[in-house]
Structure formats: C-alpha cells, structure tokens
C-alpha cells in the first residue's frame, strides 16, 4: 500500500513537472481521475516511471527517517502544485470548465479554497472576477435589507390601533406571532443540525449559539421569500455544511459575510433540488418519487442480480434512498466525506445525475453483504450506511460512481441459485462431491460445498477411484456441529472398517486435502 502510494505520487508528479503535460491534462474532457487524485489506486505497476534511484529504496520496507522526510517533501511539493492548479483556474478570470473539472476530483483543504469554489459552482459568484467586489457588496446589502424587512418587530412597525391580541391580517402583532410559529419550527430542526460540531455548539451554555441563529435567519428568510415551499425539515441539513464551509473562510473578501453568501448559495442550490421537497410534486416525475424510480432503474441496469434480490426481498427503494436523495447524502457520512462528495456533486455538469451514480455505487460496494443478508439486515445496513475500510470508504465509492457513470462498471457473475447446504449429511452428497472436488476442471459449485473434511475423513494414501470409507464417529461429530444436531448422521457404507484409530491427516482446511 505504501509503495504503491508513493509510486502514484511520483507518477503524477512527473506529469505535473511538464507544463505542457499539465495543460493537456486539464484540457481533456474526460476527468483525469487517475492522475490528479493522489489516493486513487495507481494504475501503473511498480517500476514504471521511476526517475531517481531513491525510489527503489523507498519501495522496500525498511524506511529510514531521512527517506521518510523525502517522501513527505515530495508530497508537499505535489500538493502545492495541485493547489496552484486550482488557484490558477480562478486567477484573473474564472475558467468555469476548468473549475468544474478540477473540483470534481475533490477540492484541497487549503483555507478558503473550497469556500470560493463552491460559491462559483453554485452560481453565486459571476465569472468576471473584477465584478466580484461590487457584486458581493450589492448582494450583502440585499440580504441585510431582507433581514430588516422580514424579521418583524411589532413595536417598531405598530399602527395606531394595533395591540398584541390582534388577529386581523394587517396587524403587525399577528404577523409577528405567525412568524414566531415558523421560527419555532425552524429552530427545532436547526438545533439538531450537526450538533456534534464544536463550531455550532461551543457557547451553548452561555446562550449564544450564534451560528445556529444565523442558520435560523437564513432558513426563515428563505421560507418567507418562497411561500410556495416555505420550510421543510431537511433543508437545515443541506444548509449546514454550506454555511460551515463559508464561515470557516478567513479570506478578507468573504470573512464575516458567511450568512449572506450562504443564503444566496443555498437559494440557488434549492432552486435545483426543490422538487424533492415539494409535497405536491412527490408523485410527479421530477419529484422525489421520480428520482427514486430512476435510481432503481439505474441499479437494475448495472447490477441485475442485486436488483432482483431486492425485489425478491421486497426491499422497496424508498426505504433507504429517500433520505439519501433529498438530503444529498449529508446524513450518511461524516462531514469531511460529505464535503468531498459535494465537491463532486456541485461540479457535475449533468446536475445531480451523479448523485444517482453515487447512490448506486454505495449499494454496489456492499453487495456481498446485501446478497447474503436478510431483509432486516439489508435495511439496517443501508439505513446506517457504513462501508468497511478495505473498500477505501468515500474514495472507493466515488471511484465506483465514476465507473458507473462512464458505463465501465461490470457486476460480478451471479452465484448459482441452488442452495446445497440442505444436503449436508446425506449420502447423496459424498460421492458426487468427491468427484466434484477432484475433477480436473474447477467446478462452479466448489465454493458452495462445505470443506471435504466435514463430509468425511479423507485418507491421503487412498486412490481417487476407490469408494470412501465413512467414519461414523467423526462424521457424527462434525455433522452435528453444522446442523446443530438436527440431522441424523448417515449410515456408514462400511461399518467394519472404521478409521477411528487413524489419525486425521488433513481433516482441516483445503478441499484438495484428499490428494
């Protein structure tokens, strides 16, 4: 793992050294996933593209501290070059195409970089960089005006005859109480947004949860400006990471205005996914039901066996994918993974089709567990999605999603349907099994059968053709452990020649023990 890692870095590093190479890489229409992403499994095998002699030493397992520094230095140089690419894409003017391409593979964790990239990707900042400052000033003022106008304080705006219990529609007190109801609803959800982050809850005891207040204001103003959709639970989860990213930005141009910027970015993002939240559109094609249907069809296309399995188990896609799709997977992963994922989602030219690819990738990554589990297990796994580390977590999922998107994913061959476990202990299995185990061509059923040792005690000196002697004693033991004693042990073929005193040479492990 370590050595492959270093090779990949060198491999990409070499490319980046050459500026023409860099340009070529950036101009390819296909996303250069293997070259620009340091963590993707290196496509080139070891030994290619070595330049310096140190690498061979590096690849060996005993690394001296000096060489470790070298590797880190190399990584740092590589990172800086990649960072340079990102920064050059928005240097004088915003190269939108390049921005999208670069962002698709993940935005580096340089302070402020992700914040400005998301603003561009979500359509907030214009492509003409010189217009940024005036644009920002104008929009922030707009937001502030809205805050003042829409957050009603009945004392200031009171008409002459107005009183707190007024229920008429033009009473500012009435409006105030109605807004309070909305605010309460928003507040309940906001308080539960990303509660584990210190960023949000650090002053909770002191009473000043200022970031939560900001979230509340944004959602409240959005609800008032969009009476068609108002506030739906879940919007807070989408706003949370966006606001977090913007608020952590310390560049002077954006610092302190995270709220206004987050509001506009959130609005434009909602403009694309609002159909998922609108209750009346639920059944329509663009609504959430339509999207779930599309996900299901995609799964059917890429992995028919798995899809069929779900159908048999009656695992309705709504059970697991509703939350995935409406909340853009923000609840399924930890925040760093969510941010990385959203880099790719926002830069997707076919807006949010990539989301379906990612969802199907998630399902496919755990297909073994899904195929072998029951309905309840599957549901539990999908609703609390957790992928084992050997599948490389989010990186693995994104890789898979890219494959799916490019049509390169091929599902593994379906397993045979016959469940031969019910034949354990029956005499029907012993001879045919032997033949199967010892056949020259590998049988597809080889893996399905229990190991030889569990059926009988093999004797290494015996030839292939002779009939096996079943040891009643040992057989009984083993059968009982498999079936829990429910099946009776089979009658031995030759009770007289029992092999109790014979040592079980290869009763353990491999099916080729008989040889």
């Amino acid at each position: 793992m370590f050595s492959r890692h270093s090779t990949t870095i060198l491999h990409s590093h070499n490319r980046l050294r050459d500026s023409t190479e860099a340009h070529r890489m950036a101009d390819t229409t296909d996303v250069p996933s293997n070259t620009s992403d340091p963590l993707s499994q290196g496509s080139k095998p070891l030994g290619e593209e070595f330049i310096e002699i140190d690498d061979k030493v590096l690849d060996s397992l005993n690394i001296s501290p000096r060489l470790l520094e070298e590797k880190e230095k190399r990584q740092a140089i590589w990172f800086r070059e990649r960072l340079g690419l990102f920064q050059s894409a928005i240097e004088e003017r915003v190269d939108f195409k390049k921005v999208k391409q670069l962002a698709f593979d993940g935005i580096p964790d340089h302070p402020g970089l992700r914040s400005v990239y998301w603003k561009i990707l979500l359509g907030y900042l214009p492509t003409d960089k010189s217009a940024w400052s005036s644009f920002l000033v104008r929009n922030r003022k707009l937001y502030d005006d809205w805050v003042v106008e829409l957050v009603v304080d009945p004392h200031e705006k009171q008409k002459k005859d107005d009183h707190p219990l007024n229920t008429s529609s033009d009473s500012s007190w009435n409006a105030f109480f109605k807004d309070n109801e909305l605010l309460d609803e928003v507040d309940k959800d906001v308080k539960r947004t990303l509660p584990h982050l210190h960023f949000f809850n650090h002053d909770k005891n002191a009473g000043s949860t200022e970031h939560y207040e900001a979230l509340k204001r944004i959602l409240f103003i959005y609800a008032k400006l969009n009476p068609g959709i108002r506030y739906v639970q879940g919007m807070n989860e989408i706003l949370g990471p966006i606001y977090y990213v913007y608020a952590m930005d310390a560049t002077p141009m954006f610092q302190g205005h995270a709220e206004a910027d987050a509001f506009f970015s959130f609005t434009s993002l909602m403009g694309e996914i609002r159909d998922n939240f609108c209750k009346s559109l639920d059944k329509s094609e663009t609504g959430i039901a339509g999207n779930i249907m599309r996900l299901n069809n995609l799964l059917k296309d890429i992995d028919h066996e798995l899809w069929e399995d779900f159908e048999e188990k009656k695992l309705n896609p709504q059970f697991y994918s509703f939350r995935w799709l409406t909340l853009l997977l923000s609840q399924e992963f930890d925040l760093p993974d969510v941010l990385r994922l959203w880099d790719s989602l926002f830069s997707d030219p076919r807006r949010f089709d990539f989301l379906l690819d990612v969802c199907s990738a998630m399902i496919v990554q755990v297909r073994e567990q899904l195929l072998s589990g029951t309905f309840a297990d599957n549901l539990k796994l999908l609703q609390n999605y957790h992928v084992a580390d050997d599948n490389a977590g989010m990186q693995g999922i994104l890789q898979r999603a890219k494959e799916i998107r490019d049509g390169l994913y091929v599902a593994p061959l379906p397993r045979p349907k016959a469940d031969l476990r019910r034949f354990i202990g029956s005499p029907a299995l012993s001879r045919p099994a032997e033949r199967l185990y010892n056949s020259p061509t590998p049988s597809p059923y080889k893996d399905l059968l229990p190991p030889m040792a569990l059926i009988k005690t093999p004797n290494v000196t015996r030839s292939v053709e002779s009939s096996p002697v079943v040891t009643p004693h040992k057989e009984e033991e083993r059968v009982n452990t498999i079936t829990g004693g429910f099946l009776k042990p089979p009658r031995p073929f030759d009770a007289s020649s029992s092999d109790e005193d014979e040592e079980p040479h290869s009763t353990i492990s491999h099916p080729l023990a008989f040889r």
Binding site: H155, D161, H163, P164, L165, T167, F177
Partner: protein
C-alpha cells in the same frame, strides 16, 4: 418582550355566567407568557381556563373566592419589574390612592395590581405604577352597579411597560394603551 395578562373579578358563576365571548376569542394560548389574577374568579372553571392560556399563572385570594389556598398578596418579578398583586378588599378605604401606596411600599414593588372595585384604572403615582384591571365580566359590585368588562395586557420590554386595556363597550372590543417607564 413579555406579554402579561392581568385579569380578575369575574365572579363566575355567582354574578356572571362566563367571560364575554369576544374576550375569549382574543385570548388564545401561545401568545401570553404570564397571567396575574387579582382574585374573585370564584369558581374553579375560570381558574382552569386561565391555566390553559399560559404556563405561569398567579392567583391571589379575593373575598368571594372558593379556593382558600390562594395567598393574600403576591410579588412577582417579570423582566426588570417587581410586580405586586393583591385583591384589594383588604385595602381600606377601597380604591383609595394613598392606601394603595402604603401596600406598594410594604411590598416594595414597582407596579401594584389590585382589583375589587370593578373599575379599570391605570395611573402613575409617586413614580410607581398602579393598575386595576376591572372586572372581566362587568359583574355587579357594591361600589358601582354596572361596569364595562375589562382586562389588561402588559407588554414588558426592558424598562418599558406598555399597558393595553381591552374594554367591551357596545359589544365591541376597544383597545387603549398607556406607557410606563421605570425610573432609574
């Protein structure tokens, strides 16, 4: 911005059947934070009704109250104001300003609320504020034969109190307001 309802002297069921419908239409739960009741509700019905309007309800004992467990006087701190509550039949002469002022000094409060006279009053006297919410049902009293049903709503904001009085005159609800600022 705290809303405090001041109400009392409804004398239900002895002298009046219930609170006026127009008042109950206005008094919806969720808007009012505190209720200060001057007493003489008489029955438990009004007590329960007031408890549904807000979570923080304070009662004092009037001369006709059925519930004997209410205290004679009560002091409540709401925002920056210390508010005293008493029925008023103990203050003799009934309705006298200076006698009320004695009680106010005794309780050491900024705002004193008393009832019993069934007449709405809200005045500032010796830099302190005195409120009489009148009778919520306009019940008979020995001081005046008929009276307008009234109650009072206080809007407490920092050192300001805006007092809204709701009167039922000619079957219409009329609102009036008055402001009191706490002296330094």
């Amino acid at each position: 911005m705290v809303l405090v309802l001041v109400i009392g002297d409804s004398h239900v069921p002895h002298r009046a059947a219930s609170l006026p419908a127009k008042f109950t239409k206005l008094l919806v739960p969720g808007k009012i934070q505190h209720i200060l009741c001057t007493g003489n509700l008489c029955s438990k019905d009004i007590q329960d009704y007031l408890k549904t309007l807000a979570s923080d309800v304070h009662f004092v004992k009037g001369d006709f109250d059925e519930n004997q467990s209410f205290p004679e006087n009560k002091t409540v701190q709401i925002g920056q104001f210390k508010i005293g509550l008493s029925h008023g039949h103990q203050i003799v002469p009934w309705g006298d300003r200076e006698a009320r002022a004695i009680l106010q000094r005794q309780l050491d409060v900024d705002i004193l609320i008393t009832g019993h006279t069934h007449q709405f009053e809200a005045y500032e006297y010796q830099k302190k504020f005195f409120i009489n919410p009148g009778s919520a049902t306009g019940a008979f009293s020995t001081l005046a034969e008929e009276s307008t049903p009234t109650f009072v709503l206080m809007d407490v904001q920092g050192t300001h109190v805006i007092t809204y009085v709701y009167l039922l005159r000619d079957s219409e609800v009329k609102v009036d307001k008055m402001e009191y600022i706490k002296p330094e």
